[in-house]
């Protein structure tokens, strides 16, 4: 069977598990919702970082833009809860993509480590602006409207919303990587000078890819803000030191530049993190830090990179013994 055929077959049990999870594990629905958010974070980060070689530490900015855009619309639009939420989610996605369209041309002209350093500033600047801007609540943030349905259904509602968004993000990334633009992104990663010398519209490709990542990050903002119930500029919307760094770690852990790597990385990372919080309370950050060191030292190419290396070694051994 072809590789894409096998991967499509994997989607069925994952989708079934995703739908059944809130009923199988009703006590941790919120954590499961965050698991889908982590997967979305890792997959969107990998669009730039893995497939295109532009390591961004500022992608959390787009998430934050989505959080605030949705919160403001819910606060000010006067529409019903669900209408405002969905409108806000869409607006968050569009605003985030627009932010990428504006920031992309100047920032994506910077190559290598300098791009990473430049983007590091993005979430810091955004958090500072959000903390000072009265219209969006400044440092005291925005409290989101109360969920109108039954209290037991609240977490489940946002779980399904985030599950759908994460699934959509992954499918969109997969579709993107199969296009000529996906090939161009890989070409830019492998040798941008060569791509330019071959006439590839590099800037256009880079900005578009970043906007796609931003779009889905922005879309995730609204539901997450509502799930938490309160928008804080530094701890939720522009949480560069947590979300911003985790995005990178999860993609690197799973295997950057692959379709499943970020998903696997996000699952392992999130589960490990929850376990650390439960059993190593007080030491959870130390444990997390050590885990990061272990990842970078022992799995520099990520889990999928490690697996394919082991498998190739196995093939070679088989070939030599045959």
């Amino acid at each position: 069977m072809s590789r894409s055929g096998r991967s499509a077959l994997l989607l069925v049990p994952i989708a079934a598990l995703g739908i059944a999870a809130p009923f199988l594990l009703p006590t941790i629905v919120t954590q499961l919702a965050f698991l889908w958010l982590m997967i979305l974070f890792a997959v969107t980060w990998d669009v730039n970082g893995g497939q295109m070689g532009y390591n961004s530490f500022g992608n959390v900015l787009f998430f934050g833009v989505g959080v605030y855009a949705c919160a403001v619309i819910q606060r000010d639009s006067g529409l019903g809860y669900y209408t405002a939420l969905f409108l806000g989610t869409g607006a968050g996605a569009v605003c985030a993509a627009l932010a990428a369209l504006v920031l992309g041309p100047p920032l994506l002209g910077i190559r290598g480590h300098y791009f990473a350093i430049a983007t590091l500033g993005l979430s810091i600047v955004a958090a500072d602006i959000a903390s000072a801007w009265e219209y969006i609540g400044a440092a005291s943030g925005i409290a989101l409207p109360v969920y109108p349905g039954a209290i037991e259904g609240r977490a489940r509602f946002f779980y399904y919303l985030l599950f759908a968004l994460a699934a959509l993000t992954w499918l969109a990334a997969r579709a993107l990587y199969r296009t000529r633009l996906g090939l161009a992104m890989n070409a830019i990663r492998d040798n941008e000078d060569k791509a330019e010398a071959m006439g590839v519209h590099t800037t256009r490709c880079k900005v578009f890819a970043w906007s796609v990542a931003a779009f889905f990050l922005g879309a995730a903002g609204g539901p997450v803000g509502n799930l938490v119930g309160f928008v804080d500029p530094r701890d939720l919307a522009f949480a560069g030191a947590t979300f911003g760094v985790w995005m990178v770690l999860m993609a690197v852990l799973g295997g950057r530049g692959t379709l499943w790597g970020p998903v696997i990385g996000a699952v392992i990372f999130h589960v490990t993190q929850e376990v650390f919080w439960t059993y190593l309370l007080g030491w959870q950050r130390v444990a997390m830090g050590l885990l990061i060191v272990v990842i970078v030292v022992f799995f520099p190419t990520g889990i999928l990179g490690w697996v394919s290396r082991v498998r190739r070694r196995g093939d070679a051994a088989q070939a030599s013994s045959a």
């Binding site: 993107l176 199969r178 296009t179 000529r180 633009l181 090939l183 161009a184 890989n186 070409a187 990663r189 492998d190 040798n191 000078d193 060569k194 791509a195 330019e196 010398a197 071959m198 006439g199 590839v200 519209h201 590099t202 256009r204 490709c205 578009f208 530049g257």
Partner: protein, 276 residues
């Protein structure tokens, strides 16, 4: 190594199909495809290109030789738009291109290969070829489509032509240096250039394979109508390949002429052997 099969043309043949030298009367004068006039390029105190002028006529193979450090690659970089020139003019089909950027020049139909080969190492050979389709008419919307079946077929043909078909699903980074060079050449053909700038195509290639490569270069010129402008250190190769040769030394144009004239030009011999 022998390649007897006919090199199939791309579905849309290149716009200039002037054919090989033999088919054209030598007296027929037409505007050169590429005109370099009085080009200066300085790097600090070093003058890398000193008032360089040359013509590359359409449909032919033109050679550029000269000792190391004579400014050949600098001139290539200037033509391909990798750095701005200080003075002078570079015209392609009559159009000034010396102010245009690399990607723009490439889309006009000037493709160059690199001395130290450049391929997309993490991508398979086929993917390297698929992304090397002509970019002139690619828009954001058109790039959201998958590679066409025609382009994949063309990629296979050209990989066959360069002898890489058996390795088409291998990551380009795992090819040997010589194979990467061949892949880069195949990618250049894939992009259907009007003018192909080749920077030392045979350097680092196994001597046994050089004849096969020279044969392929000649066929790319004769069968696909691609004009070639070749920097080459291997004298035997360039004398066999080019119909007209320019020789540079110390950043200046030293001599030009038919291979025979260049071979016997005392200035060229002196530049290479260092004179007294």
């Amino acid at each position: 190594m022998e390649y007897t099969e006919q090199l199939p043309k791309a579905e849309q043949p290149p716009r200039t199909s002037t054919g090989s030298d033999a088919t054209r009367a030598p007296t027929e004068r037409q505007r050169p495809l590429l005109e370099v006039r009085g080009v200066w390029k300085r790097f600090g105190g070093l003058v890398a290109n000193h008032d360089v002028s040359l013509d590359v006529p359409a449909g032919r193979i033109t050679g550029l030789i000269g000792p190391n450090g004579s400014g050949k690659t600098t001139l290539f970089n200037a033509i391909a738009g990798h750095h701005p020139i200080d003075e002078g003019s570079i015209r392609f089909e009559g159009r000034e291109i010396s102010r245009l950027r690399t990607a723009r020049i490439a889309r006009l139909g000037i493709i160059r290969t690199f001395q130290q080969t450049r391929v997309y190492r993490g991508m398979t050979c086929v993917q390297n070829m698929q992304i090397s389709v002509p970019q002139a008419h690619e828009t954001l919307a058109s790039m959201l489509h998958r590679p066409t079946a025609a382009s994949t077929e063309r990629a296979d043909e050209l990989l066959e032509f360069t002898g890489l078909y058996g390795k088409r699903f291998m990551p380009a980074g795992e090819l040997s240096f010589g194979q990467q060079k061949l892949l880069e050449f195949a990618m250049a053909l894939m992009s259907e250039p009007r003018l192909l700038l080749l920077d030392e195509p045979t350097a680092g290639i196994n001597p046994v394979l050089i004849n096969g490569l020279v044969d392929r270069l000649r066929r790319a010129n004769a069968e696909l109508g691609i004009t070639l402008f070749v920097i080459e250190h291997n004298m035997r190769v360039i004398m066999n390949l080019a119909s007209h040769i320019y020789c540079m030394a110390h950043g200046e144009m030293l001599a030009e002429g038919a291979p025979e004239e260049i071979r016997n030009d005392p200035r060229v011999i002196e530049a290479y052997l260092g004179g007294r």
